[in-house]
């Protein structure tokens, strides 16, 4: 038991408390300082994670907590992604009476996502999912005077409550059948010859469903477009990206936990992946609202992440592919939402017509983000998809890669429905931007898209050095 192992989370919680305290003492126009506090906390968390790379992978806190490459990478992504969201927020929340508290919620939600990524115990995982969910509902409904925002929050909450309940039932069933919620103990039980009883299978299935909710995967995905459309733009950026990172890593870990000869969860994940990307794409095709379109595209992108999860343990490339894909996706999706935020939430696709001639750099960032989501080289999203396809084919799921390709073509269609008018059309009404902070967020996130593509080598080699802590051996 070492407190040092959870410094990244502690940094977030401390910063959240500090931001909350500060918010209750400073005047409304100075609430932006809380953003600074949040950034400091996130920075500290980020560097604490970087330092952890030197440690050998290990279990901590009586086996509830795991520190391996996957967990550290996920937490780096979570901290970095949240920092980008914080950067774009102050201008947006300036007039909100509860401006400062928002950062506390963001930080706590990020801590929940980190818990998911590092959980080595089903109860710990549930705590992470719940913390991330409850803060998420509030973030989605933060503009409580605005009905669309409240509606997004309520929808998120209803689906979330359902999914969280299923998760708890699933965890209970696994605990009941195997006598422990700790991953190492579960692994030992199964190696000692536990049987694949129907209850255990149902338990595993429900647990996966509970995590799939946080990823926005079928069949518990339908909150994502509503949140993307109705939540405050920074919340939408956060909720479509950060919880997904924690959940994807947690899901991969759960899939690894169940041995192939007992309960192979990979075919189930593969089917979910196929459904998620196809459904998300089909629904995105004719959206006339950019944020809703991004929400559906986020659903379909979860499907690609699930492709990497479906081959986890079958090829050494699966985990690096998952992390790199999430990285590329996070950069692109955050850029897109940063653009929406920077343009003061303008959301109808036709309102983006002619943006290239009015705000060329903002339009450039948006086009870059959408091309990266398609997977046009040499952007970050391309390397992400490339590694996912490579892993899928290597792991024997070639048909899934082929389906992903078909989906990519379909996705190009709706991304081009935004890109085309933004570049080709004559400009409409005047374009107003939000603040310097949101501009910086656009710039940083879009620079990341390019850097991830061109400098992929710098990240891929270290990523391939990391893998999951193999729980059975540790136990």
């Amino acid at each position: 038991m070492a407190i040092g192992d959870v410094v990244p989370e502690i940094a977030l919680v401390v910063a959240a408390v500090a931001a909350l305290l500060l918010a209750s003492f400073v005047t409304h126009e100075r609430q932006g300082w809380c953003a600074l506090v949040a950034l400091i906390g996130l920075g500290a968390s980020f560097f604490a994670c970087v330092l952890q790379f030197t440690d050998a992978p290990k279990l901590s806190f009586s086996g509830a907590w795991v520190l391996d490459g996957a967990a550290i990478w996920a937490r780096l992504l979570i901290a970095g992604g949240t920092a980008l969201v914080v950067t774009m927020t102050p201008g947006w929340m300036r007039s909100d009476r509860r401006h400062g508290e928002y950062y506390a919620l963001l930080l706590l939600s990020a801590a929940g996502a980190m818990l998911m990524a590092g959980a080595a115990d089903l109860l710990e995982l549930s705590v992470g999912v719940l913390l991330s969910s409850i803060t998420g509902y509030t973030l989605a409904a933060y503009h409580r005077a605005w009905s669309i925002s409240v509606e997004a929050g309520v929808k998120y909450f209803l689906i979330g409550a359902f999914a969280n309940t299923l998760l708890m039932i699933g965890v209970t069933l696994i605990f009941g059948m195997l006598g422990s919620t700790r991953y190492d103990a579960i692994a030992v039980r199964m190696s000692e010859g536990a049987s694949a009883s129907p209850l255990l299978v149902i338990g595993a299935g429900l647990t996966i469903l509970g995590i799939a909710f946080k990823m926005g995967a079928v069949p518990v995905h339908s909150w994502m477009p509503d949140v993307a459309e109705g939540a405050p733009a920074p919340s939408a950026a956060f909720l479509t990206v950060v919880p997904k990172i924690g959940a994807a890593v947690a899901l991969a870990r759960v899939v690894m936990l169940f041995p192939v000869d007992l309960i192979d969860l990979r075919p189930l994940i593969a089917v979910l992946a196929a459904l998620t990307m196809t459904l998300g794409n089909l629904a995105a095709l004719w959206q006339s609202d950019l944020r809703r379109l991004l929400g559906w595209s986020s659903v379909s992108q979860s499907g690609y992440a699930l492709v990497a999860v479906a081959v986890i343990g079958r090829t050494s490339g699966a985990l690096p592919a998952l992390i790199f894909f999430l990285l590329g996706y996070a950069a692109a999706n955050l850029t897109a939402f940063a653009v929406v935020t920077h343009l003061r939430g303008r959301t109808r696709i036709e309102d983006y017509a002619g943006l290239w001639r009015q705000r060329p750099w903002v339009a450039f960032a948006l086009i870059l983000a959408l091309f990266s989501l398609v997977g046009i080289p040499p952007l970050g999203g391309f390397v992400g998809k490339l590694t996912v396809f490579l892993a899928a084919i290597d792991g024997g799921y070639g048909w899934l890669a082929a389906l992903a390709v078909a989906n990519t073509v379909a996705s190009l269609f709706y991304y081009l429905r935004v890109i085309g008018p933004a570049y080709f059309a004559a400009p409409g009404s005047d374009v107003w931007t939000l603040s310097r902070g949101s501009g910086v967020a656009v710039l940083l996130a879009s620079a990341l898209i390019i850097a991830l593509g061109v400098g992929a080598a710098l990240l891929l080699s270290p990523l391939q050095g990391h893998d999951f802590l193999i729980i059975a051996e540790a136990g």
Binding site: P377, I393, G398, A401, V405, A457
Partner: protein
């Protein structure tokens, strides 16, 4: 910077790669025993995946890339009214030139794919922004079709590099040596299918050619010239470079089917072209026909029928010459349709007649290009088609025999087009009274392109040498 200055600087910039490629050509070693790939540049990019910045040429890449560089120079120099945003237009042309040459020069499969995809992006913006009519829809269709093809290629590439369980590498030279899918089987068939589908869309082959006519018709003329002259070559070049070279046994097993698809494209392209009432659409469909010849030659070359090495080499050489010839000829034809559009905003054949008296220089250039395109001896098209047919007759005689019908049809369609535009009763589109002949810059560009067409027709040796050297390396046997 004014539009004129932008055009001049774009032309100047695009002359640089041409000059460099000519320099490589002059130093290219075609003797037996010389390395297949020369002027190689090799830097690591993503070493963990075996991806590198690897560039270099063999004879085939060299001639296709040089032709492309020339055509880009011609497209940049071709005068065109752009109104506002001329600088962006030329920036996209230069971007497209960079990535297109990258496709032909890449010796790394992933780098090849990167450039291949980026060429789609460049063309998408060129067609959508500077085209006319419903150009955005045409650009969208172009992008969707060709991205579908390129992703199929990506999957096939991944299937190929993962095939033999050796260390992961995307190095083309290594893969040609390794022949990763030599054992055949379902996987090899699927990988080949991915390549043929992807490159077939780009080439374009029947029945996945339908993106081509709208893209051609709505695009600005220099972009059409590039599309036909350069981008379509990526399909046939890819077929030679990847499936033919890297999985020759699997390619041979299905070569007859590829040949049959090529035959259908030849006949279908020519028949549909014959029915077009719009000059740009008609020329666009002849591309389907001509690229069909190229694929026919490639299919014959890849047939692996023992004892026919010389004929297969001949077919491959012919296919590459056809790529160069089609680039120069159809490039000129599309540029000339641009001259029509600049003057009258009309492509309909029925609107024109008797222009020979009004615009003799345009008439002469158009007729020369049309004759070259229909394969008149003494011009570049003939050299190409003769070799393709001579080679294919030895390997698949009935395929070659049927494909000859295509030559008759192209003759008919070009002759009727020339007759209706330039001869007969003088006629101009409604609302226009004058029709100016070609001007200085237009004459210069067309003279260079068409002089090469004639030069290849009467003295092809300089072009054949580097191609034959590579064909020999690919196919083997005496030559």
């Amino acid at each position: 910077m004014s539009a004129g200055a932008a055009r001049l600087s774009a032309a100047a910039v695009s002359a640089v790669p041409l000059a460099l490629l000519v320099a490589v050509w002059l130093g290219f070693d075609t003797r037996a025993g010389a390395p297949m790939f020369q002027a190689v540049e090799d830097l690591p990019w993503i070493p963990t995946l075996g991806v590198g910045w690897r560039l270099g040429v063999d004879g085939i890449a060299l001639v296709v890339a040089t032709m492309s560089a020339l055509l880009f120079l011609a497209a940049a120099a071709w005068p065109i009214e752009l109104g506002e945003r001329a600088r962006q237009y030329y920036a996209w042309i230069l971007f497209l030139e960079g990535v297109s040459l990258g496709v032909f020069l890449a010796l790394d499969l992933l780098l090849f794919y990167v450039f291949f995809d980026l060429s789609l992006v460049g063309m998408y913006f060129l067609i959508g922004r500077w085209g006319h009519g419903d150009s955005q829809a045409a650009a969208l269709k172009f992008f969707l079709y060709t991205l579908a093809g390129s992703l199929a290629i990506l999957l096939a590439v991944l299937g190929l590099v993962l095939a033999d369980g050796g260390p992961l590498t995307f190095d083309m030279r290594e893969l040609i040596a390794r022949q990763p899918l030599a054992d055949g089987g379902l996987r090899a068939g699927l990988v080949l299918l991915g390549f043929v589908f992807g490159f077939g869309i780009k080439t374009p082959l029947f029945p996945v050619h339908t993106w081509l006519p709208p893209a051609h018709v709505q695009a600005p003329a220099p972009a059409s010239a590039i599309l036909a002259g350069v981008l379509l070559k990526m399909g046939t070049y890819g077929l030679i470079r990847i499936p033919l070279a890297m999985m020759s046994e699997t390619f041979a097993r299905y070569a007859i089917w590829i040949g049959i698809i090529a035959l259908v494209s030849i006949l279908w392209g020519a028949l549909v072209a014959l029915g077009q009432k719009d000059m740009k659409r008609r020329i666009a469909y002849t591309s389907v026909n001509h690229m069909g010849y190229t694929v026919l030659g490639i299919a014959a070359a890849g047939s692996l029928i023992v004892g026919h090495e010389a004929a297969r080499q001949l077919a491959l050489t012919g296919a590459v010459v056809e790529m160069v010839a089609h680039g120069l000829i159809t490039g000129s034809l599309f540029l000339m349709t641009g001259a029509f559009w600049q003057r009258t905003k009309e492509y309909s054949l029925a609107s024109y007649g008797g222009l020979a008296g009004l615009a003799p220089k345009l008439t002469a250039a158009f007729i020369l290009a049309a004759f070259a395109s229909l394969g008149l001896p003494g011009l570049a098209g003939f050299v190409a088609e003769f070799q393709i047919f001579a080679g294919t007759f030895a390997v698949h005689p009935w395929l070659a025999g049927l494909a000859l019908i295509g030559i008759l049809l192209t003759a008919a369609l070009f002759l009727t087009m020339v007759r209706s535009i330039f001869f007969g009763k003088r006629k101009l589109p409604d609302g226009t009274s004058a029709f100016a002949d070609l001007r200085g810059a237009e004459i210069t560009v067309l003279t260079v392109l068409l002089a090469l067409v004639v030069l290849i027709g009467v003295w092809p040796a300089w072009l054949l040498d580097p191609i034959t050297a590579s064909a020999r390396a690919l196919i083997g046997g005496a030559g």
